[in-house]
């Protein structure tokens, strides 16, 4: 055991496939700053995954930070909280990034950040708390996976109770530009670690791993010091390679366990939780604060002063841009999340949501390379770099020929749409997009 610990201090965990991207982590040295109180926040009553919430406040009501303003009556989903204190101005229906109409509660901010009375620490110590109680605390705090997929964390924990032996905190942050997790580790690593301990207690697990890519040596040193004297915890250093932060790749890299197609991490005895999610669990447990803010890396070649911003949920992109000194060039593309899997946005007044790990503002010049398209030259780069070991070039050909069944035979449904193939394609073929078309057609058929 001792030998293994020594060995793992030096080894760098990795997986087969993937690619080393141009990192652009220029904001890593910038401390997180709090966004000045925005005039209004617009909180959508749905997050990307889960049922829509029903509002429980009316126009004109006074709300406080942490107060529940929307509840989910049935199905998957967590309550929605007010992220600022103030008055409910209106409840409007707006289209979200995907063009789906969603009800938003607009709160006029009084700037006082008064806490609601429900915000108080859990009354029992961690040792006496039952797993069910922890799951309920996480649900009441409205915590979703903050890595970008925003799967409700309580559901993840609930389904994993009794099935897992390892909890992995995902601090890989393999997408370029984003430094939100890196800053969190440097500034609040204790919250990440105590969040991990809460999850380990809930799942009665004895092995907690904090997995960090080797491009964050300062965070690794800090964490290694922090886990000293905690025999159940250890830090694993991952090789910097995209998509190392994918659950499948991180579990395989560290535990050499492959999640079978169509199964979940819990089926191979692992739970993977994002670093910021872990920090949110800690805050919810020890201070009772629900998830009302998150760190957003605001950068891109159009931003004057890139920053890591702690923004209340519901603040508009425009508020963040203004805080970052405005734009130096007109943006051609606004991406929420990383450049590899993030979504292009169409509205600069859209609100920050739980999945907004970064806001990237790219100029026309930057985006030019994405407009180059020609025919596949069969170079095999996509095959060499696919983390799922697919043959994206042939999947694309089948999708182009609309032979979706043939694509299914070549396991098109296993694609995780990480974008590594398109990134490496010299011909500029929109490989991922063709694969999405094939997957969509196959899903329709079922």
């Amino acid at each position: 055991m001792l030998f293994r610990k020594e060995y793992e201090k030096n080894v760098k965990f990795t997986f087969r496939g993937g690619t080393h991207l141009n990192e652009h982590k220029d904001t890593a040295g910038l401390a997180t700053v709090r966004l000045p109180e925005p005039k209004t926040v617009s909180i959508p009553l749905s997050q990307p995954i889960g049922a829509h919430a029903t509002p429980v406040v009316a126009v004109g009501d006074r709300v406080l930070v942490g107060q529940v303003i929307g509840v989910v009556e049935s199905g998957l989903g967590c309550p929605v909280h007010a992220s600022v204190s103030g008055t409910v101005k209106e409840i409007v229906t707006k289209n979200n990034a995907q063009g789906v109409p969603i009800r938003n509660i607009v709160i006029e901010n009084d700037g006082e950040r008064t806490l609601h009375e429900s915000v108080k620490a859990w009354e029992k110590p961690l040792e006496e708390t039952t797993p069910e109680e922890i799951v309920e605390i996480v649900r009441q705090a409205g915590i979703s996976g903050l890595g970008g997929a925003t799967f409700p964390t309580y559901a993840k924990l609930q389904s994993a109770i009794g099935k897992v032996d390892t909890v992995i905190i995902n601090c890989a942050e393999c997408e370029p530009y984003i430094t939100a997790n890196h800053r969190l580790l440097l500034e609040r690593s204790y919250t990440v670690i105590s969040g991990l301990e809460i999850v380990m207690h809930a799942l009665s697990v004895n092995e907690g791993i904090i997995a960090v890519e080797d491009n964050k040596p300062d965070a690794i040193a800090l964490l290694q010091k922090a886990v000293e004297g905690k025999p159940r915890l250890r830090v694993c250093v991952l090789k910097t390679k995209y998509p190392q932060g994918d659950e499948r790749q991180i579990i395989y890299a560290i535990k050499r366990r492959e999640i079978p197609a169509g199964k979940l991490p819990a089926d191979v005895g692992c739970v993977v939780i994002n670093a910021e999610t872990s920090s949110a669990i800690c805050r919810a447990f020890y201070r009772g604060v629900p998830l009302v803010s998150r760190i957003v890396t605001v950068t891109g070649d159009c931003i004057k002063e890139p920053k890591n911003v702690r923004a209340p949920l519901g603040a508009s992109y425009a508020d963040l841009v203004e805080f970052c000194g405005g734009l130096v060039k007109p943006p051609k593309k606004i991406v929420s999340g990383g450049p590899m899997m993030g979504q292009a946005q169409w509205d600069i007044n859209a609100p920050v949501v739980k999945g907004t790990s970064a806001l990237l503002f790219f100029s026309e010049e930057y985006d030019k390379i994405n407009t180059y398209h020609s025919a596949c030259i069969h170079c095999g780069n996509c095959v060499a770099h696919c983390p799922m070991h697919l043959m994206p070039n042939y999947l694309t050909q089948y999708a182009q020929a609309r032979q979706y069944d043939e694509a299914a035979k070549m396991n098109v449904m296993s694609c995780v749409e990480c974008g590594t193939c398109t990134y490496n394609c010299p011909a500029g073929v929109q490989i991922v997009q063709y694969i999405r078309v094939a997957k969509g057609a196959l899903r329709m058929k079922k």
Partner: protein, 334 residues
């Protein structure tokens, strides 16, 4: 927005909403093709130095006519014009390097037309051709003008215009008869022998090949498997009374083997994409080269070997599919 700055945020309707990923590696088809051209430069320069102005004109004719034919075909067929990606120039240069310097000037032009129009564009353009255009054109020219295509001037015989060169026996002819060629191993390696313009100097070709490997334009699998197979087979089965090791090294350094292994067999379009497929492809090419050199009517077998393996690329890819993450190698049929 910030009033102090004279920059405005563009209106939402001007934002591009496209699917992810929003980042790209700055490698394009054109940059890959330019790398191949750079890698062929040493061999080209050596060929011109060895065979004189006539070689330069032959190469120039090949490159220019290939580009022109590509442009014309694409204009006539109303396809997107893609001559800027340099792939036609690469095909032209490779064809030129595979021609003897003494060929009449219509031969490179007809060869380029065959390579670009018939082998490449009629099959659908870049990425769609089944066979390597330069090699297919070379074989076509060999069939059409066997006489002109098999006359090679001696090294440093800088042939002028309209003068018939004095034919010199190539090393492969000697090897086939079971005797060592006149030129020594060092001459073969450095390229002081007669032959096609670009195939003579193993050293210059290796420099280009290593450049491609270092730039990660090509993977090591095909050249290593190709040359390795030829090396093993010639070592095991030497011909005549030649010592095995000498026979092996002479075989490796003669003919278009190195040019074929680094520049022709590794052509993306006509080689497999999986590592295992590439190894099998290379071994197949190597075995066929030795077989053809030993038993066929031709002295040279590289072109035919690669063309035959080109036809098998699809099957090699399908037989060597990597195991998909999270799946068993052989899924039970539902």
């Amino acid at each position: 927005m910030d009033q102090n700055q004279n920059v405005t945020v563009t209106a939402p309707e001007l934002l591009t909403v496209s699917p992810s990923p929003h980042a790209r590696r700055h490698v394009t088809t054109a940059s890959v093709m330019k790398d191949v051209l750079i890698a062929l430069l040493p061999a080209t320069v050596w060929g011109i130095y060895l065979f004189g102005i006539r070689a330069a004109i032959t190469l120039l004719l090949c490159v220019v006519s290939s580009v022109v034919f590509e442009l014309l075909t694409q204009l006539v067929l109303r396809r997107t014009v893609t001559v800027a990606d340099c792939s036609a120039a690469v095909t032209g240069l490779l064809l030129g390097l595979n021609l003897p310097p003494t060929v009449p000037f219509y031969v490179p032009i007809v060869g380029s037309a065959f390579a670009i129009i018939v082998v490449k564009q009629l099959f659908g353009g870049i990425g769609k051709n089944v066979m390597n255009p330069a090699l297919a054109a070379r074989v076509f020219l060999m069939m059409a003008w066997t006489g002109q295509m098999t006359v090679f001037p001696a090294a440093y015989d800088r042939v002028g215009f309209g003068v018939d060169a004095v034919a010199s026996a190539t090393p492969l002819v000697a090897l086939k008869q079971g005797v060592l060629p006149e030129a020594g191993l060092a001459d073969l390696f450095l390229g002081r022998v007669g032959g096609c313009i670009g195939e003579v100097s193993v050293l210059m070709l290796l420099i280009g090949g290593i450049y491609l490997l270092v730039r990660r334009v090509i993977a090591w699998h095909i050249p290593v498997a190709f040359l390795g197979t030829v090396a093993i087979l010639t070592l095991l089965f030497p011909q005549g009374e030649i010592p095995p090791l000498t026979f092996m090294l002479t075989s490796l350094c003669s003919g278009g083997l190195v040019l074929g292994a680094f520049f022709m067999a590794t052509d993306y379009v006509t080689s497999p994409v999986t590592p295992v497929g590439r190894l099998i492809f290379g071994v197949g090419c190597g075995a066929l080269v030795v077989f053809l050199r030993y038993f066929s009517g031709y002295n040279e077998g590289v072109s035919f070997a690669i063309l035959i393996m080109n036809a098998l690329v699809w099957y090699l890819d399908m037989c060597t599919k990597p195991r998909v993450f999270g799946k068993k190698r052989r899924e039970k049929k539902a």
